[in-house]
Structure formats: structure tokens, C-alpha cells
């Protein structure tokens, strides 16, 4: 066991990361707990919000994909003439034989009535007297292309007067709406990341100012700028990693609570959680790393700027 651990510690990969994070070394710049704690809390909250924004974006992406693929994988044919049952059946057969069509069936009168009811046409017995349209529901292969045009051509060639509706009117709107949703989620994520980086940079600058005496001593003793920058960066990378982990855990707990609320039959607000898959939680694993990298960059820039002021 001891041999196993000593092997890990001697591993160059481990040594690189322990150096990067300043583990196993006495910090040359003092750590200020009073300053670090509030910053850890702020970054944790930002990270939790970031995780939730990213998961919301994932839900938005998946919902939009589901809606658009549902719309794109089906079309409807309105048979205007001839309308008799035998010809409708023939039109269904022609449709079934067209390339790219997975399934085709004529819509029953009962289903057509249901559809009309959904659009507010609940007019009781009068509905039976209405001339309902003759519709063929068509399921398409996911890779099908130009099937609508082909169907129009095939059915017209066989003497049918038809109108093929490929739902593009609706799918266009949905694609636009989902693009807006995705954009909003990504913007929220970006805004949170910028806020986190800015607050870390601010804290790093403040830390360097309060420790300017120590920085100056290191500088005068002959420490290269990169050495001092590494000292500052290692500390804030550690802080970012820890705060990121807290944030990710917080976000996971919130998602679990939202899921429980949804299972208890509560609000629409939590309904998105059912669109999440277990593998979407890679976002929570990556969040601390992103937080650590952002912290490292922010601290690096702040330290470099501060050192430039010294001779």
C-alpha cells in the first residue's frame, strides 16, 4: 500500500498538478482566511448558477431537438379530389411506396373530429354534418429529403389533387424559438462566467494589495515575476477548484429537489428535469475544472498587472 502511494506521489503527472496547485509547498504569500471565505462562497454560488444555466441550456436544446425532429419526421397530405374511400386507400398505397416514407395511413373521421375539437370547434352534433377533410398521416425516415415534393409529384401523376403539408410553417417558428432559448441560456452562462472571473480578478488584486509587502520582498530577493505569479495563481486555482466543487454539489442538490417536486406532481417549472439524462451530469464534473481554469487566468492577469507596477 505504502509502495502504491509513493508511486503515485512520484508520478510526474501528479507532481505537475501538485506544483500547479501549490500542494505540498509552504505558501510564500500568506493566505487571508477573512478574504478567502466570502470569495469561496461567491464563486460557489456563481458556479452553482452556472451549472443550472448549463443544465437548463441542455434541457432547452433537447426539447427543441425533440420538437423539431417530431415535426420534421411527419407530414400530412390533404386529398382534395377524388375523395371516395377507394381512391383514398389508393393514395395511401402510393404514399407508402414513395421513397423516404416510413408509414402512411388515412386519418379516421373520429380522429379528425378530435383534432377540430382541440381547435375550439366543439359544436356538438353539428360536427357530424361538417365536411371533414380527407387527410393522410405520413411518417418519414429521419434521413429523408425532398419526400414532400416527391409525394406531390407521384400523387399528381396518378390524378390526385393533393396538398402536402410538411409542417415547415410551424417547425420554422419552433426552430427560431428554440434558437432564442438556447442563445439566452448560453448568454446567461457566459454572463455568470464573466462575473465569476471578474470577482476573482478583483479579489486577487485586493489580496496582492494587502500582501504588497510580501510581494515586494520576494521581488527584491530576486524572485522572477513568473514565480510570484505562480504563487498567486496556485492559490486562486485551488480556491476556484474547491468553490467550483461546492457549486456543482449545490446544483446537483437543487436538481434532485426539482426532480422530487416534479415527481410529486408539482409545477411546470420543474418539468424540464425529466428531459435530463444521467450523462448530462458531466456538466457538474467539468464545472470545478472550468472554475479552476477561470480563477487561474483571472489571478494570473491580476498578478501580472500588479507586478508591472514594481521596478
Amino acid at each position: 500500500m505504502r509502495f502504491y502511494f509513493s508511486k503515485i506521489f512520484k508520478n510526474p503527472f501528479f507532481q505537475y498538478f501538485s506544483k500547479l496547485l501549490g500542494i505540498n509547498e509552504v505558501a510564500l504569500l500568506p493566505t487571508n482566511g477573512k478574504q478567502a471565505r466570502p470569495l469561496t462562497i461567491v464563486v460557489s454560488i456563481m458556479c452553482a448558477l452556472g451549472c443550472l444555466a448549463a443544465l437548463s441550456a441542455r434541457i432547452g436544446f433537447r426539447a427543441a431537438d425533440a420538437w423539431t425532429s417530431e415535426l420534421k419526421s411527419a407530414l400530412t397530405i390533404l386529398v382534395e379530389a377524388p375523395k371516395d374511400e377507394a381512391n383514398i386507400l389508393r393514395a395511401v398505397q402510393i404514399t407508402q411506396q414513395t421513397k423516404g416514407v416510413k408509414s402512411a395511413s388515412s386519418m379516421s373521421r373520429e380522429k379528425a373530429k378530435e383534432l377540430l375539437k382541440n381547435y375550439g370547434a366543439n359544436i356538438g352534433s353539428l360536427l357530424d354534418e361538417l365536411p371533414l377533410p380527407n387527410l393522410i398521416e405520413v411518417g418519414l425516415d429521419t434521413n429523408s429529403k425532398d419526400t414532400a415534393k416527391e409525394l406531390q409529384a407521384n400523387l399528381s401523376a396518378q390524378g390526385f389533387k393533393v396538398e402536402v403539408d410538411d409542417h415547415s410553417r410551424y417547425s420554422g417558428e419552433i426552430v427560431k424559438t428554440s434558437a432564442v432559448l438556447r442563445g439566452a441560456a448560453l448568454l446567461a452562462l457566459l454572463a455568470l462566467m464573466i462575473a465569476s472571473v471578474a470577482s476573482i480578478a478583483f479579489a486577487a488584486r485586493a489580496a496582492l494589495e494587502t500582501q504588497s509587502e510580501c510581494v515586494q520582498i520576494l521581488h527584491l530577493i530576486g524572485a522572477e515575476d513568473e514565480f510570484v505569479i505562480h504563487e498567486v495563481q496556485a492559490r486562486f486555482t485551488r480556491l476556484g477548484l474547491i468553490a467550483g466543487a461546492y457549486g456543482a454539489i449545490g446544483a446537483a442538490i437543487l436538481i434532485i429537489i426539482a426532480n422530487l417536486i416534479m415527481q410529486m406532481g408539482a409545477s411546470d417549472l420543474t418539468s424540464g428535469t425529466k428531459l435530463l439524462r444521467w450523462w448530462d451530469f458531466w456538466i457538474l464534473l467539468v464545472a470545478p475544472l472550468i472554475s479552476a481554469i477561470a480563477s487561474a487566468l483571472a489571478a494570473r492577469i491580476a498578478a501580472r498587472d500588479t507586478l508591472k507596477e514594481l521596478v
Binding site: P30, L220, G222, D225, F227, V311
Partner: protein
């Protein structure tokens, strides 16, 4: 502690070249650095000096005369407003920012206010110069322990500076300055906080560095008895103007607190 060290090839090449050379150096503090009713303050006025390799120099003068400014220029905490500063034969104006740390490592500084890192114990404080050079603990721990023994603080190796007396902190500050055997040692009032016996011990340590390593030593002090006793060259400064004497002058009007 083995304080002996080999001379660098560059040192052997130019044995007579001054280690520290100031030519017409002026230093002015602008408003950002020092606020004096919005006026610019002339801290050093046309200073010329030349310090030989291996020389020991005492810098003296009244408070506010420009001693600290002169020392800061020597240990590269400031750049002159005008004039030329050369250290170890290199003009500092021609050095890039990346080259300065290397030069600073050749300079040991004993600050008047010690400037030890307050969160580090004595061992770690003495290890700082080695760590800034990228050395690993196994390369320096013997040197640190030896030197701690030499200054009589082995038993306090794990203590923080705040737990030490002023004199003990002074000893640690000197130890930190000499531990990497610098080519130039600048000490600002190095015996100001210690009893005469410890003062002699510390001066002895500094002189050993001078004797074996050939380091140039600059000691700023108000203690004119020490200056007279040493019989070494004196840099006397008053109102930013410097006068260099090869032996301590007989008149004492430059000697800080003890203006008689």
C-alpha cells in the same frame, strides 16, 4: 556554514572594475511617490560613487538625507531619474525586466525593519531565497540549519517571527541576506536592535562574507563609534549630496544623530 565560494569567470576577468558605480545620479520623487505640497522632491543630487569589489563601506548621514534612496537604487528597488548606475559592471539601464531578478539574487539586503515574511517560521524564512531560485529542500536545508545554529536560533527553527525579539529578528534578517552568499550586501542599520555582543557577532558574519566570498559590503549606520572603529571608507550623505572618504573623516557633522 561554508561561506567560501568560487569567483565567477566574469569576476576574474575584470578584478579592478567597480562593483557599484554611480555616475551623476539624480533621484526625484514625483507626486505619486511622495506628496510634498505637490512639489517634486530631489532625494539624490548628482551622486557619484565607485565601490570596489570586496570593499567594506559605511554609509552615514542624518535622517532624511537620502541614505534609504541611495540604498534602494543599489538594491534595484528604484531606478534613477537621471544618471547611470552600474552593478557588477552592468549598466542597469541596458537590462531587461527578465534580467533584473538574476542581478537581484547577487544582492543581499538587510532591511532596517527586517521585513521577514510574518506567516513563515524561521526555517522557511531563510529558505525563501533558495525557493525563489527554484531549489529543492534537499539542496538547501543543511545550509539553513547551519546558519540558524550560527546565529544561535536553532532552538527556534519552527517559530514565527512575531514570537522573536527585535534582536532575534535582526539576526534572521541578516542570515536571510547572507545565506546565498551575495556579491553585494547592503545592510541598513544591521546592529540597531541588538546588544553589543550580538552586534559584534553579526558584523563578524558580514565580514566573513566579505573575506571569503569577496562580497562588497555597504552598511548604513548612525553609530559613528562603529564607523571610526572599523576604519573603513565612508560614504557621507547630506541633503542628497554624497561625499566619499577613503578613511573615516575627523569632522563628524555628517554622522546622523550624533551631530557634534
Amino acid at each position: 556554514m561554508n561561506i567560501k565560494n568560487q569567483q565567477s569567470p566574469q569576476d576574474k576577468k575584470n578584478p579592478n572594475k567597480p562593483w557599484v558605480k554611480f555616475e551623476n545620479v539624480c533621484l526625484t520623487y514625483n507626486q505619486n511617490q511622495r506628496k510634498d505640497n505637490g512639489q517634486r522632491t530631489l532625494a539624490l543630487d548628482n551622486v557619484n560613487l565607485s565601490l570596489k569589489r570586496g570593499g567594506v563601506y559605511y554609509l552615514t548621514g542624518p535622517s532624511g538625507a537620502g541614505k534609504s534612496s541611495l540604498l534602494k537604487l543599489m538594491y534595484l528597488a528604484l531606478r534613477p531619474t537621471s544618471g547611470k548606475v552600474e552593478l557588477f559592471g552592468r549598466d542597469i539601464d541596458n537590462l531587461s525586466r527578465n534580467e533584473l531578478p538574476e542581478l537581484r539574487r547577487e544582492i543581499g539586503v538587510v532591511f532596517q525593519d527586517f521585513r521577514l515574511l510574518p506567516h513563515l517560521n524561521l526555517f522557511d524564512n531563510l529558505a525563501v531565497p533558495f525557493r525563489t531560485r527554484g531549489q529543492e529542500p534537499h539542496e538547501y536545508e543543511n545550509d539553513v540549519i547551519d546558519l540558524l545554529g550560527w546565529i544561535g536560533l536553532s532552538h527556534k527553527v519552527n517559530q514565527l517571527p512575531e514570537t522573536l525579539s527585535g534582536g532575534e529578528q535582526q539576526r534572521v534578517a541578516i542570515a536571510r541576506a547572507v545565506i546565498c552568499k551575495p556579491r553585494l550586501l547592503i545592510a541598513d542599520e544591521p546592529t540597531g536592535n541588538v546588544d553589543p555582543q550580538m552586534g559584534d557577532l553579526l558584523i563578524d558574519l558580514i565580514m566573513k562574507l566579505n573575506q571569503y566570498r569577496g562580497s562588497t559590503i555597504v552598511i548604513a549606520t548612525h553609530d559613528h563609534e562603529m564607523v571610526k572603529r572599523a576604519g573603513r571608507p565612508v560614504l557621507a550623505i547630506e541633503a542628497g549630496k554624497l561625499t566619499q572618504y577613503e578613511t573615516p573623516p575627523t569632522h563628524l557633522r555628517f554622522f546622523g544623530r550624533d551631530k557634534t
